[in-house]
């Protein structure tokens, strides 16, 4: 199975203007999503995951600037478009029909004065003007049931009458309903219990098979990563520091930061009195670092690490890349 590239982010940098200077939220990041591939983006809170994914759909917050890079998208007719150079009107139509995003703020994404039913109809109509209201409701009901919701009740509720996880699932159903090529999911399951999560993972995997969707999803839940991702990408301080097929990532983790994230997962089967966490605090994104940004917190640090920035290099498995001078080798 070698699918073609769907989205190819090349050397993307995004900065925010702040009082002390430019805060580099995304720094020279490159990332490829193939057709029918599911990519998980993980990393520390505040490391730039949301910024990276919102730059794809052109909804960066005020004050953000893309200072470098390309975002290439392969359209139906094999034409490759740089989303960053596309005319706004062309970009809009492309985004509405081909790329959908479920925001991290999903629990507040619905219009508070409208019933969910109207929100569904309006959103789908905007994306797919040819779909009739009856079709929209029928498909909504199917999808809502698949995410374990009482469809009738949810469609006839106002957002404030739903729990956090119910809103999250309703929004997920809505983005699936649009049937885009690529779905970006920013923390789609933060409010869901395990049994519901399991159902959703099954559903996402099924729909991916059935419609050939690609996913870019952001999560802090590594068990979801292990069940839903084909490829895992770790970010630290705005940079991509490891990329790997999912099995290889968990079996043969190279970057000490990725390893720290895995080590910090609490396991039910172990009786912990203390749990592991990575010491130290995240780096300053305004200051320029010469060396590896993780070096001050790293237990595998060499002299070289504070002096020279490591580039991404391939591991034994050529699909696995990492940026580290002294990677973990299982020693």
């Amino acid at each position: 199975m070698k699918n073609e590239k769907l989205l190819d982010i090349q050397n993307l940098s995004v900065s925010f203007k702040t009082k002390r200077g430019f805060l580099k939220a995304v720094n020279n990041a490159s990332l490829t999503i193939h057709e029918n591939e599911s990519v998980a983006l993980i990393g520390e809170s505040g490391c730039g995951k949301t910024t990276l994914s919102t730059s794809i759909v052109d909804i960066l917050p005020l004050g953000a600037m893309i200072t470098d890079g390309k975002i290439l998208y392969k359209d139906v007719d094999e034409k490759v478009l740089n989303l960053l150079e596309l005319k706004k009107s062309k970009l809009r139509t492309l985004l509405w029909s081909k790329i959908a995003m479920m925001f991290q703020a999903s629990q507040s994404s619905f219009n508070p004065v409208k019933k969910i039913r109207m929100d569904f109809i309006d959103t789908v109509k905007a994306h797919k003007p040819r779909m009739s209201e009856r079709e929209i409701i029928k498909r909504s009901e199917e999808l809502l049931k698949m995410v374990m919701l009482d469809a009738n009740l949810v469609l006839n509720s106002y957002p404030h009458e739903l729990s956090g996880g119910m809103k999250q699932r309703a929004l997920l159903a809505l983005s699936l309903l649009l049937e885009p090529k690529l779905i970006i999911l920013d923390e789609p399951t933060t409010a869901l219990d395990l049994l519901t999560q399991e159902k959703i993972v099954v559903l996402l995997n099924e729909l991916k098979q059935q419609y050939g969707f690609s996913y870019l999803f952001i999560t802090h839940d590594l068990s979801i990563v292990s069940e839903l991702a084909d490829v895992v990408v770790t970010m630290y301080a705005g940079r991509i520091i490891e990329k790997s097929p999912v099995k290889e990532f968990f079996k043969n983790t190279k970057h000490p930061y990725s390893l720290g994230l895995i080590k910090a997962i609490p396991k039910l089967s172990l009786d912990h009195t203390e749990l592991f966490s990575i010491p130290g605090s995240p780096p300053d994104l305004v200051e320029d670092t010469i060396g590896c940004p993780f070096a001050p917190r790293c237990d595998r640090r060499l002299n070289r690490c504070s002096l020279e920035m490591p580039n991404m290099i391939p591991a034994d498995n050529p699909h696995h890349e990492y940026a580290c001078w002294n990677p973990n080798n299982g020693d």
Binding site: K19, R20, L23, I42, G43, E44, S45, G46, K49, T50, Q104, A105, Q107, S108, M148, D150, N152, L153, E161, L162, S163, G164, G165, M166, D186, E187, T190, A191, L192, D193, L194, L195, T196, Q197, E198, H220, L222, S223, S226, E227, V246, K247, F250, G260, L261, I262, A264, I265, P266, K267, L268, S269, H272, L275, F276, S277, S281, P282, D284, V286
Partner: protein, 329 residues
């Protein structure tokens, strides 16, 4: 030591336009001592947040009683009410709705300190705000004090919410999935911080989570409680509950948490237990008898769909509402 809070037979109804009202919480009984943690788990939509909001005094209840430090909450007036408001805090599940968008991070944290602790001196305030932000890992502090919530990432908002609540030195905090948008490593260090504070100040937590392993750690030697469709179906000492779950729903969530298929899972001593059926639980259509019966693999025909099981204490402090464990039926 006296009780911090005690809830008896509490229920909540939501009235709705042109529809019958729906009862969300039923027959809730809780008691909590100072310095203790009660960890709450349950299916999405089962009423955890609603119960948390009642305990935080943000939602009136329809019947039953709620005593906080010996006083009935619905009857509190004047100074008692002000004290209650200060002593009881909630960390909201959704950090995109809980922070005032027009206040800077500094004021979000300094305002409650000004108000509740009467500190007005700017240098002192600044020192206190710095300490709190460092506590939740928002460093360098100078970068965050003049930011507005819209300048923060999801996890950074959650941490500001935590710092703001800690600023008030409450006696009781409802922690509603407050670390869900934070990476595994930082999440652990935040929970350690909350536990340290508990040891120092004897604060109590109502800790809502869906991560059982995290709950086991945070509520170690304390209590865990499972809810299903608005009712408490099992409650017990954390270790006892983890190793010896009684209710079929509890067994199913523990089995899911231990995992047995994924890449991350290790062979474990936990029983593989799954619910069946395609029923979608809904408050509009609560099943007769035991609310779990349409999904329960151990349903007793002729009993479970007819009779509502009572919450019965099986062993020291470990209670369950299930006919499989009710000898008197």
């Amino acid at each position: 030591m006296g009780k911090l809070l005690k809830v008896n037979n509490l229920s909540i109804k939501f009235s709705q336009k042109r529809q019958d009202s729906v009862t969300i919480l039923r027959d809730i009984e809780i008691s909590l001592n100072p310095g203790k943690t009660l960890c709450v788990v349950g299916e999405s939509g089962c009423g955890k947040t609603t119960l948390g909001r009642v305990l935080a005094g943000l939602l009136p209840y329809s019947s039953g009683t709620y005593h906080f430090l010996e006083s009935e909450v619905s009857e509190m007036k004047g100074k008692d009410k002000i004290d209650f408001r200060k002593n009881v805090q909630l960390i909201h599940q959704n950090p995109y709705e809980s922070l005032n968008p027009t206040s800077m991070v500094f004021d979000i944290i300094a305002n409650p300190i000004r108000k509740h602790k009467g500190i007005k001196n700017t240098t002192k305030l600044y020192a206190e705000v710095t300490r709190l932000l460092e506590n939740v890992g928002l460093t360098p502090v100078t970068d965050f004090v003049d930011k507005y919530p819209s300048h923060l990432s999801g996890g950074q908002r959650q941490r500001v919410s935590i710092a703001r609540v800690l600023a008030m030195d409450p006696k009781f905090i409802v922690v509603d999935e407050a670390t869900s948008m934070i990476d595994t490593s930082l999440r652990i260090s935040l929970l350690k911080t909350l536990k340290d504070i508990q040891e120092r100040t004897n604060i109590s937590y109502f800790f809502i989570t869906h991560d059982l392993a995290l709950g086991r750690y945070f509520a170690r030697d304390q209590e865990m409680m499972v809810m299903y469709l608005g009712k408490v179906i099992e409650k017990g000492n954390t270790e006892d509950f983890i190793h010896n779950p009684l209710h079929p729903y509890s067994k199913a969530i523990l089995s899911a948490a231990a995992g047995n298929s994924g890449l991350l899972d290790e062979p474990s001593e936990f029983e593989n237990y799954q619910l069946g059926g395609t029923e979608i639980p809904s408050f509009k259509n609560i099943p007769s008898g035991c609310p779990l019966h349409p999904r329960c693999p151990q349903k007793i025909e002729g009993l479970c769909e007819k009779l509502v099981p009572k919450l019965i204490e099986k062993s020291d402090g470990h209670s369950v509402a299930c006919h499989l464990h009710d000898e008197q039926k």
